[in-house]
């Protein structure tokens, strides 16, 4: 079976410093693949390259066997590739609700002429989108701040909003960059349940960067370990936690 995401021999350097060094990874369809690695290993950079926010120096990214390296971020979105940002990128002057409502692609009302000529259709779609957005807000525990400007949310709430956005449209692959950081653990438990459900019931594929081992342990299989821009190892969480190299680089010697 072709992997849904196939990253081939990516290289990326910033002014002489190589950050991703001939890195290849595969994510198989329907999996929740974890990605861990020391700070500065290049995980977020790799995400940016997959999602199209950064262009690689060389190498290729394939989605469902098709090369998407030349596509822009918004075109990749339309192919079903969604992502969150490690440092929240909310629309600070839109309310939480609007932050979600603007996500669904191809809304009739986004066409200037349709807004003038087909107001009925626009309104109908809008109601539909709002319904969905309210559901998602409920889901991530933000209903009570739905009319608050996103810029005024707390740090954790912004992260939740990031997550909520990926649920606003049918995705094939969702890239999650440290959504747990700053999120209350009780709430996180619920969210993990929902991620699993999306994965099982709707067939979403997830690629998850995380430093929270509980979460990785509960959700992810397999787990890829990235270090210094290269894949150090790949395997189940158990294998990884017992690998001395990984322990040394990532967990620190005194814990495991």
């Amino acid at each position: 079976m072709t992997p849904i995401i196939d990253v081939r021999n990516i290289r990326k350097s910033f002014g002489g410093l190589t950050v991703i060094d001939d890195c290849s990874i595969q994510v198989s369809k329907g999996s929740i693949t974890g990605m861990i690695g020391p700070n500065g290993a290049g995980k977020s950079t790799l995400f940016n390259i997959i999602a199209g926010s950064l262009a690689p120096d060389s190498g290729e990214v394939l989605l469902n066997g098709q090369a998407i390296t030349q596509l822009s971020a918004n075109q990749r979105f339309h192919r079903g590739l969604l992502r969150t940002f490690q440092i929240a990128h909310e629309f600070s002057h839109l309310t939480s609700l609007e932050n979600l409502m603007m996500v669904p692609p191809l809304q009739e009302g986004e066409n200037l002429f349709s807004t003038w000529l087909r107001p009925g259709e626009v309104r109908r779609q809008e109601a539909e989108v709002r319904r969905r957005a309210l559901e998602v807000l409920d889901f991530v525990g933000l209903s009570h701040v739905r009319n608050e400007l996103a810029g005024n949310l707390s740090g954790g709430q912004k992260k939740l909003l990031e997550l909520g956005r990926t649920m606003m449209t049918d995705a094939e692959v969702v890239l999650l960059d440290e959504i747990a950081a700053g999120v209350n653990r009780t709430l996180l438990g619920d969210l993990m349940g929902n991620i699993e459900r999306l994965n099982r019931e709707l067939g979403y594929t997830f690629l998850v960067i995380e430093h929270d081992m509980d979460m990785i342990g509960r959700l992810c299989d397999p787990v890829i370990v990235l270090a210094q821009g290269q894949v150090m190892m790949e395997g189940s969480i158990g294998e990884i936690q017992n690998n001395p190299e990984v322990i040394e680089a990532y967990f620190g010697s005194e814990t495991a």
Binding site: A51, F91, S92, T95, S114, L134, N152
Partner: protein
């Protein structure tokens, strides 16, 4: 980490959400009062004129509020688009210059334009040579050399043809078509130039856009001013036809009232279209892009297309507004397009009214225009009073009184900007935050 931010539109809008729009009503009531006062003191003919001009400015301001209020693009080159619109209105509506068309000059001009196209095509072709394996450096050098030579050749031909036009037939004249055609084409022309500018500048940071547009407006003006063969340059063209009977036929008041009804209908249509668009997902998307482009791109919105679209849309309105204004003034004078009147004044209208709020923008346009017009005589009166006191007490006798008094008007506009920003940073009728319950 942010300092306590008093920018809390959410809550302020929440509190007045359900009540009558008292603020709006009060403000518009006040405005009506001001206008009535002007009618009473200045006479109906002059006041109607003021209203027509204010309505033309309102179209400009709506154009700016789209660009700046909706999308956060700060266009400081309004003057340029106004001038383009004005030129188009003029060119379409003034009589045909038969002397020009009867001579061999149109043909020669045509050849030069053709040569221009050919040179552009050649340079473009050379710049694509790297596709067939020519080294990039060589390509660049070739393109620059070809461009330079071609430019010098075409320019010298153009100079000779235009020189002949100026000396033989003065200028190429107009098309003698109905003026509203010129208005529409003026909008299209401004939109076209806006497209071109947007293509180059919209990828840049917002403050670069300010400078670039400021410069491009100057370029447009310099071109119109120095192309005597096309626009008569500083010699100006007047009178310009109106789409309605002009004052010479039916008197000042009637003619202006008719013109006013035309502009009011235009504004109503524009207003309706904008309202629809802004409150649809389109508006939301535009605000999202204004807020955070990286994120909007990641959410599948095509940033460049949208920014382009909105910039062009705004420019079209500016072109139309400029055309309507110029026709009304009855005179095309490239020198008359001034940053102070045609850029900064519009800016103040939008700031004061509330960027991103159409109603606020309209309000701002009318109010600021009234202030602007009345500030001249008022400044004079105040200055005279001060001097009367001054000479009474200190024997102070400044010269150039009137000139100095009118400088005060510039001061007042500046102060107005600052006061509004200080006390109503989001305008008197601020942009609304959408609420859903």
């Amino acid at each position: 980490m942010t300092a306590p931010s008093p920018q809390r539109p959410a809550s302020s809008a929440t509190s007045t959400r359900h009540a009558l729009p008292i603020r709006e009503l009060a403000l518009f009531g006040g405005l009506a009062l001001v206008v009535l006062t002007v009618f009473a003191t200045m006479g109906p003919a002059y006041s109607t004129r003021m209203l027509v001009e204010a309505s033309c400015y309102a179209i400009l301001a709506l154009g700016l509020t789209i660009q700046w209020g909706y999308a956060g693009q700060f266009n400081a080159g309004i003057m340029g688009f106004v001038a383009l619109g004005g030129f188009s209105a003029t060119f379409f509506s003034i009589p045909v210059n038969h002397a020009f068309w009867a001579s061999d000059l149109p043909g020669r001009l045509g050849w030069v334009l053709l040569a221009m196209v050919v040179v552009t095509a050649i340079v473009f072709g050379i710049s694509r040579l790297d596709r067939i394996g020519v080294p990039k450096l060589l390509r660049t050098i070739l393109a620059i050399v070809a461009g330079l030579v071609g430019y010098l050749v075409v320019i010298s031909w153009l100079r000779s043809v235009t020189g002949d036009i100026e000396s033989q037939v003065e200028f190429i004249g107009g098309l003698g078509l109905p003026v509203w055609l010129g208005w529409i084409v003026g909008g299209a022309l401004a939109g076209g130039v806006g497209y071109f500018i947007g293509h180059i500048c919209l990828g840049l940071r917002s403050d670069y856009l300010v400078i670039a547009t400021l410069g491009i407006a100057e370029i447009i003006k310099a071109f119109l001013k120095n192309s005597d063969w096309l626009t008569r340059g500083t010699a100006t063209i007047s009178p310009l036809p109106w789409p309605v009977p002009d004052p010479g036929e039916v008197g000042f008041l009637t003619a202006r009232a008719l013109y006013l009804s035309v502009t009011v209908v235009m504004i109503a249509v524009i207003f309706f279209l904008l309202h629809r668009a802004y409150h649809a997902p389109w508006g939301r998307m535009i605000r999202a892009i204004r807020d955070n482009e990286v994120s909007a791109a990641a959410m599948g919105k095509s940033i460049n297309r949208r920014r382009q679209e909105i910039f062009v849309f705004g420019c079209i309105l500016m072109g139309i507004g400029g055309a309507v204004l110029t026709s009304f003034n009855g005179l095309f004078d490239p020198q008359g397009y001034l940053p102070l009147n045609h850029t900064f004044l519009v800016l103040v209208m939008v700031i004061l009214g509330g960027p991103g709020n159409n109603l606020g923008t309209l309000f701002g346009a009318v109010l600021v225009y009234v202030i602007w017009i009345m500030s001249g005589p008022m400044a004079l009166a105040v200055m005279h009073a001060i001097v009367a006191l001054g000479s009474h007490w200190f024997d102070w006798q400044p010269g150039n009184l009137d000139s100095r008094a009118l400088q005060a008007r510039v001061f007042v506009i500046g102060l107005l900007i600052l006061l509004v920003l200080r006390f109503a940073p989001r305008g008197l009728i601020p942009e609304k935050v959408a609420h859903h319950n």
